[in-house]
Amino acid sequence: MIGLLIRDLKLAVRAGGGFGLGLSFFLIVSILVPFSVGPDAGLHAVIAPGILWLGALLACLLSLDRIFQLDFEDGSLDLLATAPIPLEGVVAAKAMAHWITTGLPLTLAAPVFGVFLNLPGDGYFWLVVSLALGTPALSMIGAFGAALTVGLKRGGLLLSLLVLPMYIPTLIFGTEAARRGAEGLAVGTPLLMVAGITAGAVALLPFAAAAAIRVNLR
């Protein structure tokens, strides 16, 4: 499984698609927001945690279809399905690879983009913490969506339609945690919820995703 993880990481970095693309998209969104809402720094400060979360979420969405698609197309997914590692493990490894190449860089880059949006000082720490806890859920939920649509030629839009509603709880709790942190309020409850959703997703979704992949490989 570690081998699979490393292989996927190498592929992602070499292909260059997901890694830099996600960060660039995140950057662009952070810059576009002031253009769309006006230059009032006070306003930016208020919406910064939410916008940064949203940007990270959308950037994550961009690279989801790559999780299984390439392996599906060249037949490797069939091989992986019959390999000694359980398919659920394969899914988990691939979701983790996705997170390492997408969610993690976005989490680390968020404070930098927070500067553009006048994120209040207290907010930086809690933004990173909430993203760190929440982005793995985004990768795992995304992997489930990718598993559902892996057989489809142009499943990208459908993938978004399926995955975005499932992102809503993580988004709500994540931004609440970041926002409350920025205002100096207690963040315990939303942070706990984010962690809980991530834990649940990581524990249970591999089974659902593996089931979906088996269906699509028939």
Binding site: L162, T189, A208, A212, V215
Partner: protein, 242 residues
């Protein structure tokens, strides 16, 4: 080998042929009596004025929006465990009815709230939850439409329904959390327990019953259509392959 010979679809076609007209007529009766009673023969609410009359369409449709999804969930589980084709097709058939019910609930809910809140949409927790449910319905319908092989489509949409249900529930909780701090009293509270006296309650029950029967009739008709459609596809494929 024709699916028509499977006992399940045949039995289903048999009893539904008789049941559908009965349900349809009963539905029409309950809805018309309920709505006429509610619209013409109930007083205005001291707070909401005549808009209380919207309750007779908003509450039944909202109830059916949820019930439709629950039925889809149960049908999906039956398909995954027992592999009864009729179950899978029933889930597929229920989704369009459910999505229309959700839409009605959203529209009537928004219209009802407008005089109270002055805007055409409020992010009231309950309305917002229905909006999210609407999105889940759309995803489910889109996935059915996108997958060609019927059994694969049934499998994938069933798994989606299962996972989606968990997230829909989670969203409900999240949305309540999300809106509770903003401004208090933002909910279009019309819990049945809250001062819905008998004079409103009785026609409301009739309308809820009517909507339920309508749902039943429509889902049965649509499931029958799906079964026929499958049989048609089999025949067409056979013709094409000579």
């Amino acid at each position: 080998m024709s699916i028509w010979k499977y006992s399940n679809p045949r039995l289903f076609m048999g009893w539904t042929a008789k049941a559908v007209p009965i349900f349809a007529v009963l539905a029409a009766l309950c809805i018309s009596v309920g709505l006429i009673w509610g619209y013409f023969f109930t007083p205005d609410d001291y707070r909401m004025g005549a808009t209380v009359k919207i309750i007779y369409i908003h509450v039944p449709s909202a109830m059916m929006a949820i019930n439709a999804w629950v039925m889809m969930l149960v049908a999906s589980l039956i398909w995954l465990i027992r592999r009864h084709h009729v179950s899978a097709l029933a889930a597929k058939a229920a989704a369009p009815v459910g999505v229309v019910m959700t839409l009605i609930a959203l529209i009537t809910g928004a219209i009802w709230g407008q005089p109270m809140w002055g805007t055409w949409w409020v992010w009231d927790p309950r309305l917002t939850s229905f909006l999210i449910l609407f999105l889940f319905y759309l995803g489910y319908l889109a996935l059915w439409a996108a997958i060609e092989d019927p059994d694969s489509a049934a499998d994938l949409t069933s798994v989606l329904c299962l996972v989606g249900s968990v997230f829909a529930l989670l969203s409900r909780y999240a949305v309540n959390f999300w809106n509770q701090g903003l401004h208090q009293g933002a909910s279009l509270s019309l819990d049945k327990e809250e001062h819905v006296s008998d004079v409103f309650w009785q026609p409301l029950v009739l309308c809820m019953l009517g909507f339920g029967l309508l749902f039943l009739a429509l889902v049965l008709i649509r499931t029958r259509t799906e079964i026929r459609s499958r049989r048609l596809a089999v025949l067409d494929a056979r013709e094409r392959n000579g």
